[in-house]
Symmetry: C2
Subunit: 414 residues, 2 copies
Amino acid sequence: MAVLVQKYGGTSVGDAEKIRHVAERIAAARRAGNSIAVVVSAMGDTTDRLIELAESISAAPDPRELDVLLSTGELVSCTLVTMALREIGEEAVSMSGAQAGIRTDTAHGSASIVEFDAERVQQALDAGRIVIVAGFQGVTHEMDVTTLGRGGSDTTAVALAAALGAERCEVYTDVDGIYTADPRIVPDARKLSEIGYEEMLELASYGAKMHPRSIELAAWYNTPVLVASSARDVPGTLIHDVASAGADGPEGEGMEVANKVRGVTYERGVARITLRAVPDRPGIAAAVFEPLAESNISVDTIVQNASAERLTDLSFTVDRSDLRAALEVTQGVAGTIGAGECVSHDNLGQVSIVGTGMQNAPGVAAVMFSALAEAGVNIEMITTSQIRITCVVDEAQVNDAVRTLHSAFELGEG
Amino acid sequence: MAVLVQKYGGTSVGDAEKIRHVAERIAAARRAGNSIAVVVSAMGDTTDRLIELAESISAAPDPRELDVLLSTGELVSCTLVTMALREIGEEAVSMSGAQAGIRTDTAHGSASIVEFDAERVQQALDAGRIVIVAGFQGVTHEMDVTTLGRGGSDTTAVALAAALGAERCEVYTDVDGIYTADPRIVPDARKLSEIGYEEMLELASYGAKMHPRSIELAAWYNTPVLVASSARDVPGTLIHDVASAGADGPEGEGMEVANKVRGVTYERGVARITLRAVPDRPGIAAAVFEPLAESNISVDTIVQNASAERLTDLSFTVDRSDLRAALEVTQGVAGTIGAGECVSHDNLGQVSIVGTGMQNAPGVAAVMFSALAEAGVNIEMITTSQIRITCVVDEAQVNDAVRTLHSAFELGEG
C-alpha cells in the first residue's frame, strides 16, 4: 500500500465547509487504496490573529511563549479535520508535532528539525488509520513547543514524507501548480506538469509558493512533491528529480528534458548601488558587505567588473525599501576603503529565465539577450547561475521583458 | 519562602486589559516575597466557541480530538499571562498540563488526575520564576491530551497546591467570596471570612462557585483555599479545616466556631413524587430507584416514613424538568411491586441551613422549624445530614423561608 503525505494550507481549511471538503478529498485518497498522513496549517488568518493578540500584551513577546501560542492554531485545525473525517466514517487520529515525533532545536520561532521519529505515525498508519499532523510545530528535547518559522507546514509535510519513505508529498493550496510565468503578465502562461527541485527553487517566487527550505529538504531526500489545487480537481505540478526520471518523466520528453528553459520569473522594486573606483585588492568585498549584513540588509545580485588599473566598479542590488539604509552604510564604507563616488538607481526590476543545465546550453543566453534587445529592453546588469540567467532592467520594462522571454523560449500553451 | 498557588477564571483573563491587570496582581504577590504558581482558565467564552466550532463539523465530536481542541484555550491564556508578566519585568514561564506533570486517566472530557509530578514546576519556582500552568488539562501515559471536565481549572489549582505543599490555593473569580445567603434574596447577607470544606460543599450552589470535586480534593489534602475577587482588593472567604484551626481561626471565635449555622441555601424547581402504600419489604427501594438511575434521572431528597401495617409511603424529589420522565418510570414500577397510587407535586422548592456539627446541637433543628412555622411556611418534607437540615417547601415561599432562617440564626451583617 502506497504511503502518501498530503498537506493543506490555511485557506484550504479556512472554515467548516472547507474542512469538510478537505476531509472528502482525504477520504477519496484513502479509499483509492493508499495509506494517508496529512499535515495541516492553521485555519485562515489564525496565526496573524494570534500574533496580534500577543502584541496587544507585549511589544516583544517572549519567543518560547509565542511558540506555544502560535502552535495552538494548527492543533485546532488538525483536530477539526480529524473530526470531519470521523464524521464521514474514516478512522482518523490527530497528532501534535510532539506526538508525531518532530524533534527540533531550541531556536524558538524558526526552529530546525533535528530528528523525525515517525514511529507513532507509522503505527497508526499500519493500524489502518489516517493520521492528521499539526504542521509548523515541533518540540525540543525538553518538551518545549517550537514553531518552524516561515514555510513551516510545508517543511513538516516534506519531512514527514521523507521520514515515512512516502511515495509522494502532495501540497494542496489555492493555486493549482507552477506556471511558466506569472499568468497576470503572460496570458498564455502554461502550467508545468513537472519541474526539478532546483528549478522550483528559482521559480517559486509566484504561483504555488513553497518555501525554499521545504524544496531543499525534498531535494535532499529525493521526495517527489506534487503541488495542486485543493479546490479543483485538476492536475498539478510534480516537483521531482526530472533528470533522473528521464524517459519515464511525466511529460515523456526523455533525457532532453533537463536542458530546457522551464519558466520566466521577475521581481520589481529593485534598487542598485554602484561604488565606483574601488581599489581592487583582497578584502574589499568583505569590507563592503559585512557592514550591510550587520545592518540586516539583504543583498541580492552582486556584480564586480573586471578591473582596469587596479580600480573596479562594484554594483549590487537591494530591495528598494532597504535603499536608504544601504546607501548610508555604503557611503561610510566608501570613505574607509578609499573608493570613489557611490551612486544609486532605484527604479529597477529583474527578469530571469530558469531551467536545469543552462551551463551546457550557451545558446540560451544569446537567445535571451537578443530577444530583450529586439524588444528595446536595456540590460543594466547580468548574473548567471547553473540554472538561471538574470537581467536587471528598468522597472517599467519588466512586463514587456517577461512576455518577450516567454514567447522567445516558446513556453506558452500553443 | 511561602508557596502560593493562584487561579484565575475565564472572566478574569477575558481580554488584554484584564490579563495585564491579572499580571499586576500576580507580580504584587511575588514582590511580597512569595513563590507563585498560577493556574488559568481559557479567556472568556473561548471554550464555548471551540465547542461550537467542533459541533459545526461533527454532531458528536470524537472525545480525544475534542480534548486537544479545548485544551488550546488554556494554552492561549497561559502564554498571554506569561507574556504580560515578562512585559512588566517578572521572570515567568508557561507550562501545559503535560509539562506541569499532570497525568490523568484516559477518560477524555472528564479525566481524573492519577498523578501530579510537580518537579518541573518546583524547579522553576526554585529558580525564582513565576510558573503559569494551563488549567483544565492533563495528559495520559501515552501523551494524549485530556481535559478534566467541569470544575477542571479549580481542580488543577487545588491539585497543584497539594502537589507543591503550598501554603494556600487562591481562587480569583468575579465574585468576592462565600455568603451566608444569596444577597439577591437577603439584603444583609454577610460574606464569610472562613468556612469548612464540608460546609462549602453544601453552600456552593451560589456566590463563588467551586466544583465540589475541587473542594473534596482540598479537603483530602487539607489545602486551604481562598476564594476572592480578581477585580477588587477586598478580603475573600477562606475554605479550610475550621474545626482544627480552632482558636487561631481567622474569625477568632475559638472552638465554638464548629457548632454554628454558617449559611442558608435554597433551590427552586423541585418536584416531588410520592408512591403510596408501598409494601415494606427488602428490595423495594432498589426496585424503585434503579430504573430511575437507568433512565438517567437524578433523585435528590428521599424520604420513607416509618411503616404502619407493613405498608409505607415513599417520597422523593427530582428536578422539575425530569418530572414527566420520572413519573412514567415510577408508575411502571408501582404496578410491578404492588404499590398504591403515585402522586406528584411540581411547585416545590427547598431551603437548607448549613453548618458543621449540627448533630451535636439539637436545638438548631427546633429553631429552624419554629421560625418557619411563625413565618407561615408549611414544611412538606424534612431531611438532615451531618451538616445540613433541608426542608422542602412551597416554591412561592422559598424567599420568605430563606430570609426568615437568615434572620433566625442571626447571620446578617448586624
